[in-house]
Subunit: 332 residues, 2 copies
Amino acid sequence: MADLNLNRRDLLAVAAAGAATALTSLPAAHAAAPSAAAQAPGFYRYKVGAYECTSINDGARSFPLPDTFVKNVPKDEVLAAAEAAYMPKGMVTVPFNPQLINTGSKLILIDSGNGIATYEPTKGAVGRTLQNLVAAGVDPKSIDVVLMSHLHPDHTNGIRAADGSMAFPNAEIMVPAKEWDFWMSDENAAKAQSNEMMKNYFANVKKIYAGIESKVTRYDWGKEVAPGITAIATPGHTPGHTSFAVASGGSKVLIQSDVTNIPEFFLRNPDWHVAYDTDPVLAQETRHKFYDMAAAEKAMVVGFHFAFPSIGHVEKDGAKYRLVPVAWNPTI
Amino acid sequence: MADLNLNRRDLLAVAAAGAATALTSLPAAHAAAPSAAAQAPGFYRYKVGAYECTSINDGARSFPLPDTFVKNVPKDEVLAAAEAAYMPKGMVTVPFNPQLINTGSKLILIDSGNGIATYEPTKGAVGRTLQNLVAAGVDPKSIDVVLMSHLHPDHTNGIRAADGSMAFPNAEIMVPAKEWDFWMSDENAAKAQSNEMMKNYFANVKKIYAGIESKVTRYDWGKEVAPGITAIATPGHTPGHTSFAVASGGSKVLIQSDVTNIPEFFLRNPDWHVAYDTDPVLAQETRHKFYDMAAAEKAMVVGFHFAFPSIGHVEKDGAKYRLVPVAWNPTI
């Protein structure tokens, strides 16, 4: 190690960061520089009181902006917002970020990401929750609870590994009662057959939960659903869509889930309706209530679709809002 | 490996991300959850044409806002800006980010960070360049060039390892000619004895470069100083302060160095004067020129004192500017 000019303290710090293997693959000095061709691991730690939380990046997906991505706004206006956010020309980029909460006795994963089989055209760019948990030193078998905000594929499909087995085999799976009842209703599914998107959503929930229905715990809004974690009613995006307040030792963070999809569009423009909402008018109302509260409280807000590490504060900007991302903290 | 529910592709991806060691330290399933107590490694890769670049986080330092941190603005106004950026109460947070440019044949490190012996009170929070290079799979011995923007301690002290030896023993050290001449002048040093800050800066340069003066290559503005890397005159912060354009295959990034210190203060308020400027009026003029150009070109800008990963775009906002940080890209 001496030839690296690193002392013992440095090496310990490197090892603690979970990256010591890099030492075994160092290029020879003064060889032509090989490219690494891989991004840094996508995890970021932050404290909420005594709780150690980790933002886990499931990846990000860039795709040509669909004509109806925002249902109540002309496409040109949406393209202009994408351009103002420096997204790839003509495209929209949607990131995905589950959150791991370590209460000291329980490991709780909030949402599970896309799973590795979804979005074939962009495979590799999403479905990274398992590999980023491992990069963070977390064994998927040690997860005690997977706490679902709602049952859209990008949040729930990650409970299955590539071979269809349970990705978190020892975890209790908790789903909002209202959400479970909505998607499990044959009557609702039958009504949705004329809507391609909704039809696919119903079929996906059936497929992902096939054979494990009895393993699912249904939870109610307004209750502490896990130690220090309270379920907040934020319906509209889906009928049972849920956000969470995580509180410990006088500190708090709001895990908003999908109160907005990407903030560059829907937090800046809270009255825009994303194509994925079940009830866009209710979602819009929820959004204003949630962000007015978050801005007044100066609360730290985590957004599943915010750019990794997906944490920030929301400030009012006239009738709109603005996200102030947290500055990366090299220590925790 | 099978019990992790990861397939071979996942494991390769994890290994490629340089994080495979984490596998050896997995906690036993269902033990009380141990806290990791360490942040993710601070490196982030981005492409500029064929060049693979890596933002290397040297850390970040939070300290009580000094009365004179901004010389021409009342402290209350500065505190309000810190609060609007959600910095710790009464404090200012300054991050530090050298850049590694891999041209395919040369490894060039732009600035070297604080070094591990500086800032005793916040030791551990800064001086992380070596450990983050190693986390990124880069042997410090493989660095071909250390390219200095200017000779302030947070940029140049990292050329020395903890024991005083050269941290990058095989690297040519390149310093702007104007900068070298300024700090190496005994006449300038003598004039600076009445100014505590400047006196310390002169002493620090003498100490860091003692015995290696002949290893230093002086470079001029407006020239290609390394393959694809052009030195841009941006004086004011120091007499020889330099920014860089890194260009490859029609793509370009501007590495601004210290055209501003933290953007929350000095990019938002380009007429504010940071205490560290040698010529604050010239620095202010440079700032406007540089950001007007960057905004007009919609250039990607890297800032040494931007929050990690320290990359964004600059947009005009009336007489001010606003930084739009890049969205974390999970692939490169």
